[in-house]
């Protein structure tokens, strides 16, 4: 009995979120008056903060529990912080946006909290089944969130496409898991890794099939090259705050799962803290190709776009490409770079989508024409957007640049994939064109009507709250970098 109680204690953050979930159900049922105003959002934010505190407490004692199915190490702690932060900010954004109607706000909070539990499960899973459970939990709820605006055709179509693509992808993945289970006879990462090493390289085609299928499942989650097709349509169709959440939350969870599987199962920890691919499974060149493909697809497709949400959708695909570059050398600096990049990426991406949300609320449309002269009528909004855009492009003084700097550093350090670094650099130049197109219409074009709009304080506080860390992180990033290195140190 004590042992399960100990295990539950380690799951404290998730348990706390579930309790708040139940509280919300009660509120939903018994106090209808509270339903539609800001109360559910406040409750969500409190839930996230509480679980962050619990994560900090739990994080001090890294251990595997529930019989090695779930791991609570530095890696999980980091991702828990990230998920709770993104959930809190997304709910803050959602409750300011007209797209999430007042009466269905409580449902949004419920769904959001469920997804958060699913995400932290994905990050901490070290067992195929638990991973599958986490992924499915996040996916299925995301299908619902994508179609949140029931009467809106675009939102419905987005959820339909997300549903079909997601379903197939996770089906493929579970089939891959079954093959791995067959080959290695176990579901636990550590045993799978042991048997893979024992195989000393005579790895048959079946293993490669399993690997490809698993990769396709995870690639769907982070919208990497072959499985990225759903992202632009779903991001454009779904309501903007939810798209903001999609581009950050589930994507980070996908990366968490991918990193954990890759580093504990398909790679071996070498002496100096780096990793080496299991012989017979030389992943590095494949990852390089995938990363290059994702970058090119993301950047080039965004060039001709006029809908800003779609531009940001393709840009988030491109950023996945940049992040995958870190995996190419499988060494410590690369993975730290990815983790740092994730932090920077989450802040600036939510910010960018937030601005799009605010503009589409005011102007009703999301294409570049809607952005004409916004910079002059709402200078704070314009400046924040400029900061996010330049950070996304990778201009120094902003966190995006530091992310790219670390990623390119790790690639060049290994010396083997210089062509990838060159491609990455060229892609960021190309990305400038479509990013600055947004700024062009915001600042360079004069608005038709001279009406000076006032940015509601609610949004101003949030946006500035995201913009300032983007600059601070760009100028002084040592503490965050040490924090990222610490998370890697305790990866079980």
């Amino acid at each position: 009995m004590g042992e399960t109680l100990h295990n539950v204690m380690l799951l404290a953050p998730e348990v706390c979120i579930t309790l708040f979930l139940c509280l919300l159900f009660i509120v939903d049922g018994l106090f209808p008056s509270l339903r539609s105003n800001r109360f559910p959002m406040i409750l969500t934010v409190v839930a996230c903060i509480a679980s962050m505190i619990l994560t900090a407490k739990v994080g001090k004692t890294p251990a595997a529990y529930f019989g090695g199915m779930v791991v609570n190490d530095g890696f999980t702690t980091f991702f828990r912080y990230l998920f709770f932060f993104t959930a809190a900010v997304s709910s803050y954004v959602a409750f300011g946006s007209k797209e999430v109607e007042a009466k269905s706000r409580i449902e949004f909070s419920l769904l959001l909290l469920c997804v958060t539990v699913g995400m932290s499960l994905m990050a901490s899973a070290s067992n195929l089944l638990v991973l599958y459970m986490g992924i499915e939990m996040v996916s299925i709820i995301s299908f619902v969130m994508a179609g949140f605006r029931r009467d809106n055709l675009r939102s419905n179509e987005a959820s339909f496409k997300y549903l079909v693509f997601g379903g197939v992808a996770s089906a493929l993945m579970i089939y891959g898991f079954s093959l791995i289970y067959g080959l290695t006879g176990s579901l636990n990462y550590s045993q799978i890794a042991a048997s893979l090493i024992a195989a000393q390289g005579n790895v048959g085609l079946i293993t490669w099939l399993a690997l490809v299928l698993i990769y396709s499942g995870l690639a769907y989650k982070i919208s990497a090259f072959p499985m990225h097709f759903w992202a632009p349509d779903v991001y454009e169709g779904a309501p903007t705050p939810i798209t903001a959440f999609f581009s950050v939350g589930p994507k980070a969870a996908g990366f968490a799962a991918l990193l954990r599987i890759l580093l504990t199962v398909f790679a071996v920890k070498t002496g100096d803290g780096n990793w080496k691919a299991v012989e017979g499974l030389s992943l590095t060149s494949i990852i390089a190709v995938i990363s290059a493909a994702t970058m090119i697809v993301g950047n080039l497709s965004a060039l001709g776009q006029t809908n800003v949400k779609r531009i940001l959708a393709y840009s988030s695909i491109a950023h996945v490409g940049y992040m995958l570059m870190g995996l190419v050398t499988l060494d410590r600096s690369g993975i730290t770079a990815i983790i740092f990049y994730l932090i920077a990426y989450c802040a600036m991406n939510i910010g960018a989508f937030w601005v799009v949300g605010v503009v589409s609320n005011i102007r009703g449309r999301e294409d570049l024409e809607a952005f004409r002269g916004i910079g002059w009528s709402m200078p704070v909004l314009g400046t924040c957007m400029a900061i996010f855009i330049f950070s996304l492009t990778g201009i120094p003084m902003f966190s995006g640049f530091i992310g790219k700097f670390l990623i390119f550093g790790s690639v060049i350090k290994s010396g083997g994939f210089l062509w990838l670094a060159l491609l990455g650099v060229l892609n960021s130049v190309v990305s400038l064109y479509y990013y600055v197109k947004i700024l062009k219409s915001m600042w360079l074009d004069k608005p038709e009507t001279e009406e000076s709009l006032r940015l509601p304080f609610y949004h101003a506080v949030g946006l500035v709250g995201l913009a300032i860390p983007t600059i601070v992180l760009g100028l002084y990033f040592t503490p965050i970098l040490e924090f990222a290195e610490k998370t890697l140190a305790t990866l079980l």
């Binding site: 079909v164 490669w208 097709f229 090119i296 950047n299 080039l300 060039l303 190309v430």
Partner: protein
């Protein structure tokens, strides 16, 4: 003494600064400031000249480091560079200083009267002061760098002064033409200076003379040619540009667009003479690069002869004088070329005086009859006696009539040329052209005198208005005319054999001093001495004969009208046409070189840059992207203007467009693509495993 000499150049410079800043507000528009400044320079220059006359030799110099760049020890690529500039006073400088300040002062006086009532009167004096400062700076400088700086400053002043009447388009074109042609010469001259710094590390005259004496720098080559020859030719190009020698002479006749005092000061006395002065300063180097001197001689001779021919047919009084200036400059260059550089220098001095006088006289004539066309003049002898007298004296001087300064210097040059052709067989063309030019010069000068002063007035109205100029304008004429007598330079009649009774040899002693300094005063061997003596005797006789013939022919055609000029013109036919069109040099330069060659090339290059490099290299990829699109199929959705970015990005967006076509919106097609990629991945994995 050198420090005071610096004042000579500073006075006009200060005058320029004052005049250009507050000239307009001063009483009389500040012309007295410029005149006083140049007078001050004259006052400072005369004691130096007096010292030369009394002691027969004067030498002083002081130097200051202008630029010192730190670097490693000498001889290496990054060795330290120190550019030292200073003032050098030797016999040459003393004489030049006096000549320039005197002429400038007289011309300043003259232009007070001549330019009275002009709209930009104060600016005229500002530019003239700047010009005088630059010319004096050039004369004083002891190295080629400051020499070059003053050289180009003079070019600027000549540009500003020729274009003084800037409302007249012809004046502006002339000023740009002058500036650009001289600039061609200057650029090459600067290459020569760069060459000097390359082999000697300095451009100081004294150190060059010493280095040449020691024979350093002979082995070195620049661009494959022997270094000294290269530098010599570059210096020659500088002279050709500035002293309007063939083929860069086209600007001087057009420079007559400027006011007459300008023509007198700049395009007769001083600036054009600077080119010859440069040759004289660099004579040891030219001599050391023995291949250069003959070229110099030929350039001088050809220029003299061709310019003289053109002068015959000119009807504009100033154009006649302009071509005569080119011709006389050709003489000086020929003098230096054949080795008689002291004769060349003397001719430079004498020419400065009488040509300035001629120009000023023509100025006073133009000022009174308000036309430059000689065909509208005639019979002004009685109306303007002083101008006539001074102009006649100067004409006698230039025509080489004994007893006048022109004869003395021209005879020595021709003697030197003859001696040169005797020593170096086969170069007979030089003396022949020399003597022919002497004759033609006499002919056209007297033609001008007769057409303007003698005969009956062709234009009553102008004749009636003609009047003598006030004293401020006639005094300079008289002074300059006085300087045109032989007595000033060498004996009353100028003929060697006669004057040995009362020889006033200050000029020759001064020039010997200069040769000693330059280290080239080698004593001729006895038989060479004999050849020289014989040559000078022979030259004396021929030059007298030729001058007499010229005067005679001119007087029977233009005074007595026995021979009609028209008949002679028809008889010459095509030759006349050729000469009248100045050998089509202008047409060649302007028509072919500038209009068809340079401007079209620029046009082509500019469109090349805008259309080709900017569009094709950079933007044009869009066209290729467009082609790919049309091949794939008409697609109205993509509007081309959204790709308004340079070509490389257009290719990208074209690529992006292709990629986006896969994004058809149908979920099942996404899945088909995904499955295809997975199959391809498996295929490679399988291949990899083998």
């Amino acid at each position: 003494m050198a420090q005071q000499a610096l004042l000579i150049a500073l006075f006009p410079l200060i005058a320029f600064v004052i005049q250009s800043l507050i000239g307009k507000k001063l009483p009389r528009h500040g012309d007295f400031i410029s005149v006083l400044a140049i007078l001050g320079s004259l006052v400072v220059a005369t004691p130096i000249f007096m010292k030369l006359i009394t002691e027969g030799h004067v030498f002083d110099s002081f130097q200051v480091t202008w630029m010192s760049l730190r670097g490693a020890e000498a001889g290496r690529l990054n060795s330290a560079v120190t550019i030292v500039i200073g003032v050098l006073i030797n016999n040459l400088t003393a004489i030049m200083l006096l000549m320039v300040t005197l002429c400038a002062f007289l011309i300043h006086l003259f232009s007070v009267g001549y330019m009275h009532g002009e709209e930009r009167y104060h600016l005229f004096f500002a530019y003239i002061s700047l010009f005088s400062a630059a010319m004096l700076g050039l004369v004083l400088s002891d190295n080629l760098l400051t020499f070059f700086i003053c050289w180009e400053l003079m070019g600027l002043c000549s540009y500003l002064l020729i274009g003084f009447y800037y409302k007249k388009p012809s004046a502006i074109n002339a000023s740009i033409k002058a500036f650009m042609t001289t600039r061609v010469g200057d650029t090459l001259f600067f290459m020569g200076i760069a060459g000097l710094y390359y082999i000697y590390g300095t451009s100081n005259f004294m150190s060059i003379y010493k280095a040449i004496e020691l024979g350093t720098g002979h082995g070195v080559t620049i661009l494959g040619y022997p270094a000294l020859a290269f530098i010599g030719f570059m210096v020659l190009m500088g002279t050709i540009g500035k002293s309007a020698q063939f083929p860069l002479h086209v600007w001087l006749p057009d420079a007559m667009e400027g006011p007459t005092p300008v023509s007198a000061l700049i395009h007769a006395a001083t600036m054009v003479a600077a080119g010859v002065f440069l040759l004289i300063r660099m004579f040891p180097l030219l001599e050391a690069a023995h291949v250069v001197l003959p070229v110099v001689a030929y350039v001088g001779a050809i220029t003299a002869f061709l310019a003289a021919l053109i002068a015959i047919v000119q009807v504009d009084i100033k154009k006649v004088l302009a071509y005569s200036t080119i011709s006389q400059l050709g003489y000086m260059v020929m003098g230096v070329g054949v080795g008689a550089f002291s004769a060349g220098f003397m001719h430079l001095i004498t020419h400065a005086c009488f040509k300035a006088c001629l120009f000023l006289c023509s100025g006073s004539v133009i000022h009174s009859v308000h036309t430059q066309d000689m065909r509208e003049m005639g019979g002004l002898k009685s109306k303007m006696p002083i101008t006539f007298a001074t102009m006649f004296i100067a004409t006698l001087a230039i025509s080489g009539v004994p007893g006048f300064s022109g004869f003395v210097s021209k005879d020595r040059i021709l003697g030197g040329a003859l001696a040169y052709s005797m020593e170096h067989q086969g170069h007979y063309l030089i003396p022949f052209l020399g003597f022919a030019t002497a004759g033609i010069t006499a002919f056209y000068m007297f033609r001008m005198i007769y057409m303007t002063f003698f005969g009956h007035a062709r234009d009553e109205h102008k004749h009636h208005h003609a009047h003598e100029q006030p004293f401020t304008m006639t005094i300079p004429l008289m002074v300059l005319a006085a300087l045109s007598f032989a007595i000033v330079f060498a004996g009353p009649t100028g003929i060697e054999s006669i004057d040995h009774v009362m020889p006033v040899k200050w000029f020759d002693h001064a020039l010997e001093g200069v040769q000693v300094e330059m280290g080239i005063a080698e004593h001729l061997s006895p038989e060479a001495e004999a050849v020289h003596h014989k040559a000078h005797g022979l030259a004396l006789i021929i030059s007298l004969a030729v001058a007499g013939l010229g005067i005679f022919l001119s007087s029977i055609t233009y005074l007595k009208h026995l021979l009609s000029a028209e008949k002679f013109k028809r008889m010459a036919g095509p030759l006349y046409n050729l000469v009248w069109n100045k050998y089509f040099f202008d047409e060649f330069y302007l028509g072919i070189f500038i209009k068809k060659g340079l401007l079209n090339f620029n046009q082509m290059l500019a469109t090349f840059d805008d259309k080709v490099v900017d569009r094709i290299f950079v933007d044009g990829w869009r066209d290729i992207a467009m082609v790919t699109k049309n091949v794939i199929g008409k697609f109205d959705d993509l509007v081309v203007d959204r790709l308004m970015v340079d070509g490389t990005a257009d290719v990208m967006s074209g690529g992006g467009w292709v990629l986006r076509q896969f994004q058809t919106g149908k979920v099942q097609q996404y899945l088909v693509l995904t499955v295809m990629v997975i199959i391809v991945a498996l295929f490679f994995a399988n291949l990899g495993l083998k």
